[in-house]
């Protein structure tokens, strides 16, 4: 029974691998046939497949924007685009006031909103709120005063003491408020920050229910801006069944917010149902205007508007990466072709095949029949990588650029490198005179450590770069992490189990000349009685045997006492034909 345990383990691992592959194929067929959003080929990036190009023009009142503003806008747009996936978009300035954004595939509404809105967030206290349906007739039945009337007083009678002070409400402002039409929302993104603001809820104009529920506000001056936000994330509020955006203010923002919340909570306890509200205003529109039900002193408020998962993610990303220093409008929106033809991809793939053929050839020459294990492992790796890329294209918008293809090929080459680590360790064990079965187990124990530590360095590299870097480097980090994980998977669930099984065949276990595990050809340093027999029976060339004996003798002389003791102990263990224990 002792020898059959590794065999059982090996079969279990192989069946597990088969199950994983089956599940991956299952997921993708679900994507292809049930959701009709996935495909059996990975999606290609901008350079190989083309996509959509949007030209944004900066809206500036006077002259051209500074190059500093433009560069800042490019950085923010790039971060926003990258946050939506790993599609490798291209963002550049063109001329002095244009920004060109090119993304693979089509650009949907959400993506468009993500790019073009400036996302200036402001927090203002609510002074007055009514339904948006209020028409131009005042509540007293008299005709509403014309806001343009010069006789209306525009300056507060008493100097307002805080953002909730009702002395902000001048007759002129009230006239503006009554005349304001929410269906003709003006661009208020550059409204003065130290003045009150008349605006409405953000509502989907095509949704009649949303329009009916729309509210109109007079808001106090800006109390806090998006610049004080250090982080923003979206999440699902289980209790209320709503998508929310969670904000984190910096220390300064947190203390300002605590002050505001204290003041507004005062109105809540006093029963003022208008002024106990504060408004999150993005680009001049109210996203949400909740009431203050407590004092928030940790600087971590939540916004809950009428979000979907998508729109809450978009807003969180916009707030996280900051507002654009300028507002932009779309100038043109075109389909663009690939810069590299499919011809280049073919050349790349042919090069890849040649490269992999060389790897195969080298493996066969160097490791004889064991080379087939390398080739089979690489083939399994290729299949898993391919199907995972298809799934990721569907779930994460992963796109493969030519550099990405090259990176994948190279990583597959590097995978072969870790097989070399393993096989060399096995051979080291064989040279120490162990049986093939024991050498596979002990070699694995040694190689395992090396492979885990070196691969975890690669994964560390991938994770750090993925979190911190943008654009192409992010894409690279993603591919590196992915292939490294698949590599480890193959190693544990395919290569090692296969070796365990092969070691028990007569061809490999008996150390056939072509098996790559011939202890004679490897010049065993010290062989126990059982192994000497094997060497004698398989040895046919006398000169070679003599040379081996010489090198064995030489090696034995160079052995340390510790090594000799170890070798003797091993010989005793192998002699009793038990399972190779831990090294």
């Amino acid at each position: 029974m002792a020898t059959s345990t590794p065999v059982r383990h090996a079969w279990r691992a192989l069946i597990g691998l088969l199950a994983i592959i089956a599940v991956l194929f299952g997921i993708n067929s679900l994507g292809v046939y049930a959701f009709e959003k996935s495909s059996w080929t990975p999606e290609l990036a901008l350079d190989l497949q083309g996509g959509t190009q949007v030209i944004l023009k900066a809206n500036t009142e006077s002259g051209e924007p500074s190059s500093e503003q433009m560069n800042q806008a490019v950085t923010i747009i790039r971060q926003r685009v990258d946050a939506s996936g790993v599609g490798e978009a291209e963002v550049t300035t063109e001329g002095n006031s244009n920004i060109v954004v090119a993304v693979p595939g089509k650009l949907d509404e959400a993506q468009r909103a993500r790019i073009e809105s400036s996302a200036q967030m402001e927090l203002r206290s609510v002074l007055l709120a009514t339904g948006a349906a209020t028409t131009s007739i005042g509540e007293d039945g008299k005709a509403t005063p014309d806001p343009a009337d010069p006789t209306l007083d525009a300056t507060p009678t008493a100097s307002p003491t805080d953002g909730s002070d009702l002395s902000w409400l001048t007759p002129k402002l009230q006239a503006e408020f009554l005349a304001y039409d929410c269906s003709k929302q003006a661009d208020l993104s550059n409204a003065p920050k130290d003045q009150p603001l008349v605006t409405c809820d953000r509502a989907d104009t095509e949704d009649p229910i949303a329009v009916a529920q729309q509210q109109k506000y007079i808001l106090g001056p800006v109390e806090l801006t998006g610049n004080e936000i250090t982080d923003a994330s979206n999440g699902y509020d289980q209790q209320r069944g709503l998508w929310i955006v969670q904000l984190n203010f910096n220390g300064d923002g947190a203390s300002k917010f605590a002050e505001v919340s204290k003041r507004l909570y005062g109105y809540t306890t006093a029963g003022d149902t208008q002024r106990n509200r504060f408004a999150f205003v993005v680009d001049g529109e109210v996203i949400s205007a909740p009431t203050m039900n407590g004092i928030i002193s940790d600087g971590r408020p939540q916004i809950s508007g009428t979000f979907t998962q998508e729109s809450s993610k978009v807003l969180a990303d916009q707030l996280k990466f900051g507002a654009l220093p300028l507002s932009f409008s779309v100038q043109s929106d075109n389909v663009i072709s690939a810069t590299l033809g499919t011809q280049q991809l073919q050349i790349g793939l042919i090069a890849a095949l040649i490269g992999l053929a060389l790897v195969a050839l080298y493996s066969l020459l160097s490791y004889r029949a064991l080379g087939f294990v390398i080739i089979a492992s690489l083939a399994v790796m290729a299949v898993i990588t391919y199907i995972v890329l298809c799934i990721l294209a569907w779930r994460m918008g992963f796109r493969l650029s030519l550099a990405g293809v090259a990176g994948l090929i190279v990583t597959i080459g590097f995978t072969a490198d870790s097989f070399i680590v393993y096989f060399e360790r096995i051979r080291d064990e064989l040279r120490d005179g162990k049986s093939v079965i024991a050498a596979v187990e002990d070699g694995w124990d040694r190689a395992k450590r090396t492979i885990y530590i070196s691969k975890s360095i690669n994964i560390l590299c991938a994770v750090v770069l993925y979190i911190l870097a943008d654009a192409t480097v992010k894409g690279f980090a993603f591919t590196l992490g992915l292939t490294t994980l698949i590599d480890i998977l193959i190693f544990v669930l395919f290569t090692h189990p296969v070796m365990q099984l092969l070691a028990r065949t007569r061809f490999f276990g008996g150390g056939h000349v072509l098996s790559g595990m011939n202890s004679e050809a490897l010049g065993a340093v010290y062989a126990g009685r059982a192994q000497f027999k094997a060497v004698e029976t398989t040895s046919s060339v006398r000169g070679k045997a003599a040379r081996d004996a010489k090198s064995r003798g030489e090696a034995a002389r160079r052995q340390t006492i510790a090594e000799r003791k170890q070798a003797e102990a091993l010989a005793a263990r192998n002699g009793s034909d038990s399972k190779g224990g831990d090294a």
Partner: protein
């Protein structure tokens, strides 16, 4: 391939031994020179960055008839004026062509500037009117300074974390230090080779560099893990000095590199170029810089020093008897 096996055997048993550690000072001298030369080369002949980094000139041709919408024509037109410059050609919508090139002179003191000449060549190639349908503008870098800055931050943090993790794994900061110094050596020399040969640095090349970075650290880890095994097995009664143990570990692993070099046969433009240069430098650096450096760090420890001295005395005695 029997000879390859034999080489592997001899390296393993120590019959054939490449003195990576023994001739340490020579290797350090060579490494120092290489780094110095690389830095000098980078200063004297700064490497060229591609238009993704520097921005460039963009020509837009509109109103092109469908049968003329061939991307190849644009490359020919640009090459006929500006020589061998990199171009990126895209069709825009149904009748437009967008051509991006390296930054070109838009004004010239006499005659038509290159930009004007190319505009005309493009107009001829696509059979449209130059004044009406061809426009040119300056485009910014798609790989801006911010992308570079973020990537460098990422790298710095990665190296710091890798240092800590390796130090914890190997239980000595010395292996970490040797590995990271070896890595920096790889980056400087690879960059130097790039500058020397005048290869253009494109995003694909940068990806290649990053791959090498990961690979180089991977290699060093593999070699150091072998060294760790070898030096751990060495009992206090061992006759080998620490330096020799390190050497044996390195030699045993050399066979891995012969394999890795054979596997480096990737051929895909920029990326394969940087990877080929990088793999060679990485293999060199691990063996000739990182490993000897580690033995240098350890040799000054009192325990190891006394052990080495004991071995040396024992050898002298043996020599006297013989």
């Amino acid at each position: 391939m029997a000879s390859m096996n034999q080489l592997g055997n001899d390296l393993y048993t120590g019959k054939t031994s490449v003195p990576f550690v023994g001739k340490r000072n020579l290797w350090f001298l060579i490494a120092g020179l290489l780094v110095l030369v690389s830095i000098l080369v980078v200063f004297l002949r700064p490497p060229q960055f591609s238009m993704e980094f520097t921005g460039g000139t963009q020509f837009t041709v509109s109103g092109v008839a469908a049968e003329n919408l061939d991307q190849g024509k644009a490359t020919e037109a640009v090459r006929s004026i500006a020589g061998d410059v990199a171009t990126k050609v895209t069709t825009v919508g149904t009748d437009g062509i967008r051509v991006q090139t390296e930054a070109l002179e838009a004004d010239s003191s006499e005659g038509a500037s290159p930009v004007q000449q190319i505009s005309e060549a493009l107009a001829t190639a696509y059979k449209v009117d130059a004044a009406e349908h061809v426009s040119s503008s300056v485009v910014g870098a798609s790989w801006g300074a911010d992308v570079t800055r973020q990537s460098l931050w990422g790298l710095g943090i990665f190296l710091a974390l890798a240092f800590v993790i390796l130090a914890l794994y190997f239980r000595t900061w010395k292996m970490s230090a040797a590995a990271i110094i070896g890595l920096l050596d790889v980056l400087v020399i690879t960059f130097g080779v790039y500058a020397l040969c005048g290869f253009e640095i494109s995003p694909a090349a940068v990806i290649g560099f990053l791959t090498i970075l990961g690979y180089s650290l991977y290699d060093t880890t593999v070699v150091f893990d072998k060294i760790r095994e070898t030096t751990a097995e060495q009992g206090s009664a061992s006759h080998r000095t620490f330096g020799e143990s390190v050497n044996l570990g390195v030699n045993q692993t050399l066979i891995l590199f012969i394999g890795a070099l054979g596997l480096g046969a990737q051929t895909l433009a920029d990326i394969s170029l940087s990877i080929t240069v990088g793999i060679i430098v990485a293999a060199y650096s691990t063996l000739f810089v990182a490993a000897p450096l580690y033995s240098l760090f350890r040799e000054n420890e009192p325990k190891i020093k006394s052990h080495d001295a004991k071995v040396a005395r024992a050898r002298e005695r043996d020599a006297d008897v013989a």
